[in-house]
């Protein structure tokens, strides 16, 4: 009966149109866009999908989802429960409002230890807001367990996992003893979408709310300081290539690219 812990973060919707994406530079925060709800980070729902594929084969698997975040993060946990995860842990403590990636990893490590025993911890390869990509590996080091990053497939097989890992020009198959951490990438495939029946079932599943005092730890220190956050000026002077025929446009384009030493 493997116990799988999935880490899930709620993020501003990454499909927000660039024209509506705005930053408060003084507060160093991204401004919420009215009418656009935050969503689960996609790599994290892919992680839940990976866990569910294990549970599809080993039906007595228990999948626990942990999310660190404000009240709204409960929606992300509920989404994962509706996908088919079994229980949720919501670490919701105002003291964590400005926790960096490393402080968050410390909190998650403490929560995971409280949930022990566990066999497998699955995280997304990065959260799609800050794109830092450090939490999974940091937790593995902190817990002293192996980690395999950027997986496209995870097979659990009593006491070990066999992971297909994405390389630049191919794949490698890596075996790791459990317990261990695996981070997943988009190559794993689309996460399943909750059906109405599952959403209703999920309403009855428990989401525990924990604070730092429930974990018995003080606020972990931040290790990085966000000094500035801004929207870069990416506007470029666009040169429209005109012409009466596709051939003429193509000729002009090729000539301009040659002048610019690009082809």
């Amino acid at each position: 009966m493997p116990h799988i812990i999935c880490l899930a973060k709620q993020v501003p919707d990454p499909e927000t149109p660039a024209s509506q994406f705005k930053v408060d530079e003084a507060a160093k925060k991204v401004l919420p866009v009215p009418g656009i709800q935050p969503v689960p980070s996609q790599f994290d729902t892919i992680g839940v999908e990976a866990a569910l594929r294990i549970k599809d084969k080993l039906s007595d698997s228990i999948i626990t989802v942990i999310s660190v975040g404000p009240d709204s993060s409960r929606d992300t946990i509920k989404h994962c429960l509706a996908m088919g995860a079994d229980e949720g842990i919501h670490i919701n403590d105002p003291a964590l409002a400005n926790a960096d990636h490393w402080a968050t990893a410390d909190v998650l490590s403490a929560a995971i230890q409280k949930l022990a025993p566990y066999d497998l911890i699955i995280a997304g390869r990065q959260a799609v807001d800050w794109d830092m990509g450090v939490v999974g590996s940091t937790i593995a080091e902190s817990l002293g367990v192996p980690v395999v990053t950027i997986a496209k497939e995870i097979q659990y097989d009593g006491g070990k996992v066999t992971v297909e890992r994405v390389l630049l020009d191919g794949f490698e198959t890596v075996e790791a003893p459990t317990p261990c951490v695996v981070t997943v990438s988009n190559e794993l495939g689309e996460p399943r979408y909750p059906q109405l029946r599952q959403i209703m079932l999920a309403a009855r599943k428990e989401v525990k709310a924990w604070t730092l005092s429930d974990l018995g730890i003080p606020l972990p220190p931040n290790r990085v300081n966000l000094e500035a956050l801004f929207v870069p000026d990416t506007s470029v002077e666009t040169e429209f290539i005109e012409g009466d025929t596709p051939q003429e446009k193509a000729q002009k384009l090729a000539a301009r690219l040659r002048e610019s030493k690009l082809i």
């Binding site: 490393w102 950027i150 794949f171 966000l226 193509a250 082809i263």
Partner: protein, 325 residues
């Protein structure tokens, strides 16, 4: 007192210096140096001279069969020891398959932090200020790091390397990894290459990418032909990978790959934030789209409005002529 820059370099599978290493050395030099460059691998004896020519004042070659292929359990303890022995102020790695895996583990072992996928660097006194894209390239963040050393991974082509100069001098030492096989808890049982001829997406100087505007999977054939003529690689938007028109390994974007070619040709791609996240540091985007209002035009240096099939076919012929001339 920590001082200087440690570059944790890597070799390619063919035993050459990974092209990001001279870029890291150049950044380290610009930040004030001196740059010590450590290369981990197996059968990499000859790379020391390349690092010196690229600007490193000291090179440490850690050559060990256990380091032949990257495994975090083998590399992390070696990197940790190198940091303790050289006591650098700043450690730089590439945002490569190795750096992405190794940097956070190293940071946790040393009780410090790593800023990942950075594109800009400055020193403010002895503080490294690292700038990196976030929110899929929609925003930039600048970080400082409280711990020591200050670790950062660097996106490819964030900095021009110095012109290699064989007359530069530097000290090259060799050492053993000092690890044993039983420390490696993971085991690589199989490694296989994807059957792709030609250039890898991540290394390509030219990328030709297709989106839903292609109309179907057969639309990728002319793009492959054009990429072949230009010596480039083919990419795809998430929409077409989701539709199964092209392999997901070629997906460029927020939930796909970040690419850094000199020239990016986007065909039938509208320019959703999801896609733009994968090309946020590309300077020269050419877009071909029948919709004159496509948002990708705003980010493009050259824009062509019209039927992509006719334009790509004619452009491929023009490019072929230019390449032959």
């Amino acid at each position: 007192m920590p001082s200087g820059i440690l570059v944790l370099g890597e070799a390619t599978e063919a035993g050459k210096l990974n092209p990001v290493v001279p870029e890291l050395i150049a950044i380290g030099t610009r930040l004030g140096g001196p740059v010590t460059c450590a290369i981990l691998g197996s059968g990499i004896d000859g790379l020391g001279a390349d690092c010196v020519a690229a600007g490193a004042s000291k090179v440490i070659i850690v050559d060990d069969p256990l380091l032949a292929e990257y495994q975090g359990d083998a590399y992390a303890p070696v990197a940790e020891r190198l940091c303790k022995e050289t006591d650098p102020s700043v450690v730089l790695l590439g945002q490569t398959m190795v750096g992405r895996d190794l940097a956070p583990r190293l940071a946790q072992r040393l009780g410090t932090a790593a800023a990942m996928d950075c594109m800009g660097f400055e020193m403010n006194g002895d503080k490294l200020v690292a700038e990196r894209p976030c929110y899929g390239g929609s925003a930039r963040a600048r970080y400082t790091i409280n711990g020591t050393p200050q670790i950062a991974t660097v996106r490819a082509k964030a900095q021009e390397p110095l012109v290699p100069d064989p007359s530069r001098t530097g000290e090259i030492t060799k050492q053993a990894a000092g690890i044993t096989a039983d420390a490696i808890r993971t085991r690589v049982v199989n490694r296989r290459k994807e059957k792709s001829e030609g250039v890898r997406l991540e290394d390509a100087k030219v990328v030709v990418s297709g989106g839903r505007g292609l109309g179907g999977p057969e639309g990728f054939l002319p793009l492959e032909e054009l990429a072949g003529v230009l010596g480039g690689a083919v990419g795809a938007s998430r929409a077409v990978c989701d539709l199964g028109w092209y392999p997901v390994a070629a997906q460029v974007g927020l939930t796909g790959k970040v690419v850094t070619p000199d020239l990016y040709i986007a065909v039938g791609i509208s320019g959703a934030s999801q896609h733009m996240a994968g090309i946020s540091s590309v300077k020269n985007i050419v877009s071909i789209n029948k919709d004159a209002e496509a948002s990708i035009f705003k980010a493009s240096r050259f824009a062509v409005v019209g039927d992509w099939k006719e334009i790509v076919a004619a452009f491929t012929e023009e490019a072929r002529k230019l390449k032959a001339s």
